[in-house]
């Protein structure tokens, strides 16, 4: 099957999420609708598990979610050196993992690209919408900056990027690279997740078209593969959030020892103490 014949099939593939309807001037997109379902599903699952744990009634599903949560918690404590910051970053990091995982897995629901309303597919994974992935990346970058400022102080954190080029030209250049790095990290976070989710959806559509009636047999393998990729992407986003936080709070100037991770040792607090 050549590319022209593939194009002739008029596959509905859109790089952006498409509006299903408008509320006033506000577009309600297919990704937003699926995302609401995904968010509610994540909240309901975690709420159900927490309720069961609180009552002390366990089943296999509760055990599974609790096991995953415990693993994530261990990962957070291993990656983030400061226990206070690790505890504070936990809700964000764990929510990122579960929301990304569930929303990514929603892209595997059968009926993708085939259930349409006004010619627009109703189902589209939230992770295949740049608005969501970019928003998530922005939240991560801003949160990391907030913890860095809390830990290092405003000037301490600014000192990571802005250094006197006359006194320390290499450091000044390094600071500029660090600034570019922050932007690229956020962009990479957003585009990585979006790229994988979007490519996954396109892959499922193309395989379904290419295999025609054999899709019933072939698609489940690709769906299982997508489930695996979904887990990997959720885990990668989760771990990168932790690593960026860890890097930001572990950053010290030459006058600060690297092992001094206590928030009481921040330059801001030291300056206050001196003042």
């Amino acid at each position: 099957m050549s590319l022209t014949s593939l194009a002739a099939m008029e596959l509905h593939i859109s790089i952006s999420s498409e509006p299903l309807f408008h509320i006033g001037n506000f577009p309600v997109t297919n990704a937003l609708l699926t995302g609401v379902a995904g968010g509610v599903l994540a909240a309901v699952i975690l709420w159900y598990v927490a309720g069961k744990v609180r009552r002390g009634t366990y089943n296999r599903f509760v055990g599974l979610v609790q096991w995953v949560f415990e693993g994530l918690l261990k990962q957070i404590n291993d990656v983030v050196p400061d226990k206070k910051i690790a505890k504070k970053i936990t809700p964000l990091a764990v929510t990122i993992f579960f929301v990304v995982l569930i929303n990514y897995w929603l892209s595997v629901i059968p009926g993708l690209d085939s259930i349409k309303w006004n010619g627009v597919p109703v189902l589209r994974s939230l992770t295949a919408d740049l608005n969501f992935t970019l928003g998530l990346a922005l939240i991560t970058v801003v949160t990391v900056q907030i913890y860095a400022i809390r830990y290092l102080g405003v000037f301490g954190n600014a000192g990571r990027y802005l250094r006197n080029p006359f006194k320390d030209p290499v450091g000044a250049f390094e600071g500029i690279l660090e600034l570019i790095g922050e932007v690229s990290r956020g962009t990479a976070l957003a585009l990585r997740l979006f790229g994988n989710a979007f490519a996954g959806e396109v892959l499922l559509i193309v395989i379904a078209v290419l295999t025609s009636y054999a899709a019933t047999v072939v698609l489940p393998f690709f769906m299982a593969f997508e489930l695996f990729i979904g887990f990997i992407q959720a885990y990668v986003f989760f771990v990168l959030t932790l690593i960026f936080t860890s890097l930001a709070v572990a950053h010290h100037g030459p006058e600060h020892p690297t092992d001094a991770h206590s928030p009481t040792d921040t330059p801001k607090k030291k300056a206050v103490a001196k003042g």
């Binding site: 590319l3 593939l6 194009a7 008029e10 596959l11 593939i13 859109s14 790089i15 952006s16 999420s17 506000f26 577009p27 997109t29 937003l32 995302g35 968010g39 994540a42 909240a43 975690l46 709420w47 598990v49 927490a50 744990v53 609180r54 609790q66 949560f69 415990e70 918690l73 936990t90 809700p91 964000l92 764990v94 929510t95 929301v99 939230l126 919408d129 740049l130 608005n131 969501f132 970019l134 928003g135 998530l136 922005l138 939240i139 193309v206």
Partner: protein, 179 residues
């Protein structure tokens, strides 16, 4: 598959890559706010319970490990104590056996000595008795001999000797006898 051409056309029309990628600032802000609300809700009402449960489980595991370690230590101590008691018991048993053997040996020796003494006494008594019997027999024989001599002399002499003559005769006869 026309999404690439559509993407290129949209970019060309709007001249804005964000619009071409479908980035809508209203949607972006809405999703950020919605996600932050979800994080807050879960962080407030869900994660504390899960974290508490994990902490409790961790605590239970640590306590169980500690208890197991203590039990292992107690078992080792008990084993050592048992071994020590067993060794002490063996030692005491050995001592008791050796003491018993010694006492038995002493008792045997004492019994043997006592039996020997008793036997010797019996023999000595028997000897004494024999000596006494011999002496008594000799005395009896002497007296009978005297009586016999007196009778004989009376018959030979024909008269009753007085005590004085009798004794003189006896003495004479004995002297002769001895000679």
């Amino acid at each position: 598959m026309n999404f690439l051409t559509t993407f290129a056309e949209t970019t060309e029309k709007s001249g804005d890559i964000f619009s071409a990628l479908g980035i809508d600032w209203r949607l972006l802000i809405l999703q950020i706010v919605a996600f932050l609300i979800l994080v807050w809700l879960l962080g407030k009402f869900v994660y504390p319970w899960l974290m508490k449960s994990v902490d409790e489980r961790q605590k239970n595991i640590e306590e169980a490990a500690k208890a197991a370690k203590q039990a292992q230590e107690s078992a080792a101590e008990s084993q050592a104590e048992t071994a020590e008691l067993l060794a002490q018991a063996r030692k005491e048993a050995d001592e008791i056996i050796s003491t018993a053997k010694l006492q038995a040996s002493e008792t045997l020796s004492a019994s043997e000595k006592k039996a020997k003494d008793t036997a010797e006494k019996i023999v000595a008594d028997a000897h004494d008795q024999i000596q006494k019997d011999i002496a008594a027999a000799k005395r009896d024989l002497y007296n009978e001999t005297l009586q016999l001599v007196a009778l004989t002399t009376e018959k030979v002499v024909g008269k009753t000797a007085t005590q004085k003559t009798d004794e003189a005769l006896i003495a004479k006869l004995l002297k002769e006898e001895k000679a």
